[in-house]
Structures are given as structure tokens and as C-alpha cells.
Amino acid sequence: MELVRHRRLSRRAVIQLSLGGVAASLLGACGPGPAPAAPAKPAEPAKPAEAAKPAAPTATQPVAAAIKPGESGGAATAAKPTEAAKPAAPAATQAPAASAKPAEAAKPAAAGAVKKGGKLIVGHVGDTSNFEPFIQHPTTFPFLEQIWDTPIRYDNEIKSLPSLAESWQLGQDGKSLTIKLRQGVKFSTGREFTADDLNFSVERAKDPKVGALFRPQADLVTRTEASDKYTAIWRFNSPFPGAFDLLARQFVVDKDVINDTDWKKKLIGTGPFVWTDWQPGERSVLKKNANFWDKDLPHLDEIEIKSFGDASAMAASLEAGAVDIVARLPTQEVARLKDNPNIKVFQTPVRVMYDLLLQSQKPPFDNKLLRQAVNWAVDRERFVRTVLAGLSVPTSQPFPAHSWAHFSELDKAYTFNLEKAKELVAKAGYPNGLEITCMTATARQKELAQLAQIVAADLEKIGVRVKIEDVEPAVFDPRHLGGDFQMATHAYGRANLDPSTMFRGAAAWHAGTGMTKFDTPEYRKLMEDAESSYDTNERKPKYKKLIEYIQDESFVIPLAPNPEFYVMRKRVQGFSSDGEANMSMRGVWLDG
């Protein structure tokens, strides 16, 4: 009988394995069949204005749907508004007052057409495993913005819009920021939101135990005060040009409940939705917050966040109409879905850049010539073409094209040139080549592993043998942060924000404590110089110098922007993202 049991097991397993993929996609396609996407739509007045609707979306929904490889979603122009929103001179800094009520501005065009009510279904890979809003764990991306609000918000082009803050002003010396808050804002529990809540939230972000992702920026706020109930004053030791990025990132939490050990009690904010239900591994449900400060928002009654085991099944569900919107699909899936007539693709200005990290303090990459050799030996064009499905642009500088710290003349400082790389390897003292290791993590992101294989194959051609270490995410992360590698494939974020925010906030770039451990007095000085003012025109040449220095040292090797897509059914209108990967549903409405 022992034998019998065995044989059955292995046969069944054979079938499972060889048909696994097919079965998964079939299941994904047929499984959720009967679940109608929006069954509960109580108020759907068949308005005569319906006809006018199709023309309206332009206002609520920036149509970046057309994927242009060159220009990440009309982002080239997006750089300027960011600047404009950030006061050029410390003195005259009334908020972009003209757009004090931005939501209003966007609304009129679509006012007649917006349909209230309905349920939006968001697809998401994996289950929520961490409810702490400051950590910004990927599994919280679908709901963070819905529950917690921020003083200012970034729109799709990273323009500042007032939200909890109505206006803000920098002090004369550039070392303080006065934030005037909206009055009458209530937490979903009914308690009034005041300046104390904002200050508490910043102070909490500075606590290392919380593990806030934006702690490096929060740390620059040295003192917080409240001059009255609705006015917060933040003080800095030196000018803090990234302060607005912090304002957009600083979720305001309820100090009464946020440190509660019961996660259910923590989920209290001033955002447009409230958390109502969570079924582990299945779904989470959010309902409209009746206390939300903007009485016109949100349009939706309910949001359901559905958990999926893998991205292919999620993509299949989207095609079948069982899910309305998904994020973080593999580029290959996006390339396939973008031609589907029921689906539109929305691209945000590039946030994340792919790069190679070289451990600059340990042999062999403590040798600058060898680091430069790698920079010449990476075939960025091929990486973009094969792994990113041609939906990106290769570059050898740290910032993407829409950033003001992007200098087109530095784009091709390094190109694919194996001859040159080989020369440099020899010059670095390895005429007969050498052996190195490259760390990657398929389980974290498939693209990273494919990148490692491309780099390894090219380096092999010039006598550098690469052993690929494909490790688990649980091993990958600490080894990355601790600099325990020779070469690693990686992607860093925040390249869309103020350059100082990226250099301070992305661990790849920290001086000394960063992933590559690179640290020179010159690097620190160049970085500090460029942060000493709020004036973009003044800072620009300084950043150019810094980037040239980085390119020469080649400890982090930028390769190409990682295009980020939100893929949704055509009926989803008014979606926006916030400059990080969070999805904002407050303006979303369903067309049909």
C-alpha cells in the first residue's frame, strides 16, 4: 500500500506542476464569474447629462493612458509645477493660493457627470500584514490614503494641493514653517483635529521604534509648536527644501488610539473612508466616512480590497471584470493588457529607478576603476527592451526626465561599451579577470533577477565571472541595508520628489550608512551644499556637480526608470496617485 500511495502522489503532482500555470489562469478567469462588479448602485439616476459625460474625464482624470516610452506620461512638464508649488524664495510663500480649493477647481467640469455611489473593487497581491501607516508596507498601499489624510497632497504631477493644511508659510530665515490647518475637520470617531494632532504625528514619526519610512525627513523637524488650535509651527536647524515632501507624506494619526495593540482600534483617521471589515487572505472593506471635511467627497460608497495569490491571477480577474483597478502588475502583463478595449493604463511620473549597487568599502569594488568598468559593461538598452518591455528609457543619472535635477547631457555619461570596460578591468589590476558575486531576489521582484542575469552574461564576456546569489526577501533586505554583498541589483524610490528627499530618504544614497557604504567628505559636502537653499535655480548647478561626482565614483549605478502603472477598467474615473505608491480613491467615481 505504501507503493500505491506513492505512485498516486507523484502522478497527481506531475499533472499539477505541468498544468499549474494554465490552471491558475483559467481559474482566475472563471472563478469569480457571478460576482457582479457593482451590484449595489442605489442611486443611478439616468441623467440626461449622461451624453456629455464621455467628454468630461479630462478634468478629473489626467489621461496619461497612452504609454510613451520616451516621456513618462507627460511628465516633462510636470517638473515645473512642483517647483512652482515650492516657494522659490523664503519670503513670499502663501500657498498656491489660487488653487486653495483644488478639488473644487477640478470638479465643475465633471460636476454634472460624476455619478455618486457604488462599490469599487481593488485587486492586490498578498494580504495586509501590517497596519502601521508610517512604515508604508506595500500591502497598505490600497488603503493608507483612504483612512489617513495628510497636510498637503500631491496630485498626479506632484503638484501640492491643500488638504488638512489650508496654507503654509516659510519663515524669513528658512528655518521655520507655519502651517495653517483647516478648521472643523473631525476624526472618524468625531473628535476634532487640531495642530496638536499634526505635531504628535511628526514626533511619532521621529521615534525609531515606529520605523517610519520617512523618518530621515521627520528628523529634520527639530521642534514642533502650536501657536493656536489651528496653527502648527515646525522649526529646522537649517533650510529644509524637502519639507513639502514631508508634508505630503505625514499621515495624521489619532494620538488616542494609534499605539493600541489591537490593530482594529488603530485604524482611525480623518480620511475619506473608514475601515469596516477584514477577512484575512480574502478581502478588506472600507465604507464612506460621513464626517469627511469635504462634503462632496468621496463619491464612492464602498471600497473592497481583494487579495490575490499572484499577479497573473489578478490580471485575469481584471480582464474578466471581477476587479476594477490593480497596481504593481509586472511590466509584461501591462504590455499585454494595454491593448484591451475595456482596460486603460494610467502611468504616474517615474518614482523608482533600477540600479546596481557596488559595495564600495570592501574588495573588489573598493576600486573605483572596477566600479567604472561595471558602469560601462551594463547594457541598459537591452534591459529596457527585454525586461521592461520597452516601456522605459535607459539613463546613467539618478533622476528621471521629469525631475528638475535631471540633466539631459548626463544621460549618456556611460553607455554600453565592453571594450572600455575590459580596459578598465585590466587597469584596475585584474588583467586576467576576476570572480564576483551578485545578489538578487526573484521572490522580491522578478525584474531584479533578470537584470542580474543580463549583467552577468555581459561581464562574463570581459572575463568577470559572476556568481548570482538569488536569496529570499527575508535575507535580501537585511543584507542590502547592511551592505553585505559585492554587487546587488536593486531599485530605489523617491526619484520623483525633491532631490534632497531622495538623497536623504533612499537608503542607497546615504553617505556612510547607505547600502554601498560609500562615504567621502566631498560627497557629504556636495550633498549639504545643494540642500542649503530653497531656490531651485541656485541648487541646480550644485546638483549637477553632485551627480557628476556620483557618476565618476559609480558606487550606485542608475540604469532606467521603473515605469509604474495602475491598470483599471474603463469605468473607473478620477483616480490619482500621490507621488509614492499609494492609491487615492477620494475623487474616484464609477461610470456605468
Partner: protein
């Protein structure tokens, strides 16, 4: 399965009769069953596939048109054509060459896992069965503990400790195999040791080691042989599963399991990428299963006695 429970009186299948007619009956039962296995069409087919794959693995450098890791720029995800017989993968590598080289991993892991598994499992099983008492208790409880976890889970645990890689995967699978061999051997020894021939050899003064090695082991060989081929199929499959989750053969070197995993994202664009490694894996497993079926039929004591 049906054969196993069939009454002994059922007439021997035609191939047995043919074997009897055309071959001089070998004197030892083991030799006879080998012959019977080969005369069984299923057995011959299984062995044929296995031999062919062994040949492919050994001759991989001669057979493969390209080096398995060579990336052909701008020829990514090509469908099967004259240049690339089975198409190319997402980095422009020849799938045909990768399948050929991947067979080395599958076979190596299968063989290593079975050899180590049997090498440890059979002696411990013999000891446990023959001596009984506390030796039996200790060994069997140890294997019970191992058996409490599903094979794939034990495999993952071991690979996590040793680190990913084809050889480590083989060791992990060997550990998974040990209890099966050990229990099977023990069960057989428990039955055999009460037989008269064991008593007889004891009477003439044979030492324990001699009884175990010369009498018990040969008489327990039949089920062990079947288990060998079954376990090998199981190990090949588990290796594919481990590679599939990134714990087996490491990139860029090919293995069928990791090729299947890589192909998942391209199933709709490039079905050949997933189909061909899957077919190769299926062929090997079918071959091994046919072989073990045939072996089992041939080694069935009722058959042997009938013959």
C-alpha cells in the same frame, strides 16, 4: 494497482509466457524478474526513455546547439524555428539547449537523492528490523518524526539551512527519502527473519552480520528495487518544485523546474517556453513510473512462483 490485489491464480500475462518460451529461465529469481521487466512493453518503454535521457545528459555538450546560458540579443521569446528548435526564452537563450543541459540537474538530483536515501535508509532498516528493541524504537521514532512533515516542506527546511543549489536540493531530497527506504526494509526484515532459513543459518553458527548481509538483504531486494525507481521519480519532481520556488539550481544555469517558473509570466505570449520543459519533465516521470510498474509486476512473488 489492480495487479497487486489480483489473485495468484490469474494466468500470467502473455509477455511472461513469451519470456518463458524464448529465454532460458535464469536461475536466480532476481535475474528472471529483470528479464520479465524488459519483456514487459511498459518496462521496456520506461527504461528506453530513462536511457535516452541519461544519454542526453551525458552527451549534453555535443547535443546542445548553443551554450545554455548564452543570451541572443534581440532574439528574445522567439517561437520555435530553424535556428532555435524549441524557441528562445525571455533573455534570448535557446530553450532546446537549456532543456538538454537541464536534464543533467534532474538526473543528478534524482540519482544522488536515491543513492544517499537508500544508502542510509536500507542499513538502518535492516538493523531496526533485525535487532528490534530500543534500536528499532529509536530509529523508527526518528523517521516517524521526519515523516510527520510533507516531503516538500522537509526539503524546503533543509535547503533553507544548507543554502539553495542543485547539490543541496539533492541532499534535502535524500533526507526526505531515507524514512521510506528504512521503513520498507524494516517491514520486509520483520517478515523474513522469522523464516526457517534464517533459523537454519543461525543453527549452523552464522553471525548476525552474515545473516543480514547474505540472507535478509537479498530477500528484501524486490520491494526496494521498486521503491528505488519510484523515489527517483519523486525526487525529480520535488527538485523541479524546489527549483520552481527558487531553491534548486541557481540562475543562470538551467533546470526544468526553474524554466517552468520563469515561463509563468510569459505563458500567454510564449507558450512554448513553458510547454517544452514541462514535456521533458513529464517524459522522465512517465518513464520512471512505467519502469517501476513493470518492476513491481515482475517482482511480484506470486508471479515469480508461478513462473
Amino acid at each position: 494497482m489492480a495487479d497487486m490485489t489480483a489473485p495468484a491464480s490469474v494466468a500470467a500475462p502473455s509477455f511472461v509466457n513469451r519470456a518463458r518460451a524464448t529465454w532460458k529461465r535464469p536461475r536466480n529469481p532476481l535475474g528472471l524478474s529483470m528479464v520479465l521487466t524488459l519483456r514487459n512493453p511498459m518496462g521496456a518503454f520506461g527504461l528506453g526513455i530513462l536511457l535516452m535521457l541519461v544519454l542526453v545528459a551525458v552527451l549534453a555538450p555535443l547535443l546542445a546547439p548553443y551554450h545554455p546560458n548564452v543570451q541572443h540579443d534581440r532574439l528574445e521569446l522567439q517561437p520555435p524555428n530553424a535556428q532555435f528548435l524549441l524557441g528562445t526564452d525571455e533573455l534570448g537563450r535557446d530553450i532546446f539547449s537549456r532543456i538538454i543541459w537541464g536534464s543533467r540537474v534532474s538526473l543528478l538530483v534524482g540519482i544522488v537523492a536515491v543513492v544517499i536515501g537508500a544508502g542510509v535508509g536500507i542499513p538502518t532498516g535492516l538493523m531496526a528490523g533485525f535487532f528490534g528493541g530500543w534500536i528499532d524504537a529509536v530509529i523508527m521514532r526518528l523517521w516517524d518524526a521526519l515523516l510527520a512533515f510533507p516531503g516538500i516542506l522537509t526539503g524546503i527546511a533543509v535547503v533553507t539551512v544548507l543554502g539553495p543549489g542543485a547539490i543541496n536540493a539533492a541532499i534535502a531530497l535524500a533526507i526526505v527519502n531515507i524514512p521510506e527506504f528504512s521503513r520498507l526494509t524494516r517491514a520486509c526484515v520483520l517478515r523474513e527473519r522469522e523464516r526457517d532459513y534464517v533459523l537454519a543459518s543461525r543453527c549452523v553458527g552464522a553471525r548476525d552480520t552474515r545473516i543480514i548481509a547474505m540472507h535478509l538483504f537479498p530477500n528484501c531486494l524486490a520491494p526496494i528495487l521498486v521503491q528505488l525507481s519510484l523515489s527517483m521519480g519523486f525526487a525529480v519532481l520535488l527538485e523541479a518544485a524546489l527549483s520552481f520556488i527558487g531553491l534548486g539550481q541557481q540562475a543562470p544555469d538551467p533546470s526544468w523546474g526553474s524554466m517552468l517558473n520563469d515561463s509563468r509570466a510569459y505563458l500567454r505570449q510564449a507558450p512554448w517556453f513553458g510547454i517544452f520543459p514541462g514535456v521533458a519533465l513529464a517524459a522522465l516521470l512517465v518513464g520512471l513510473n512505467y519502469l517501476s510498474d513493470a518492476l513491481r509486476q515482475a517482482l511480484d512473488p506470486r508471479r515469480i512462483n508461478a513462473a
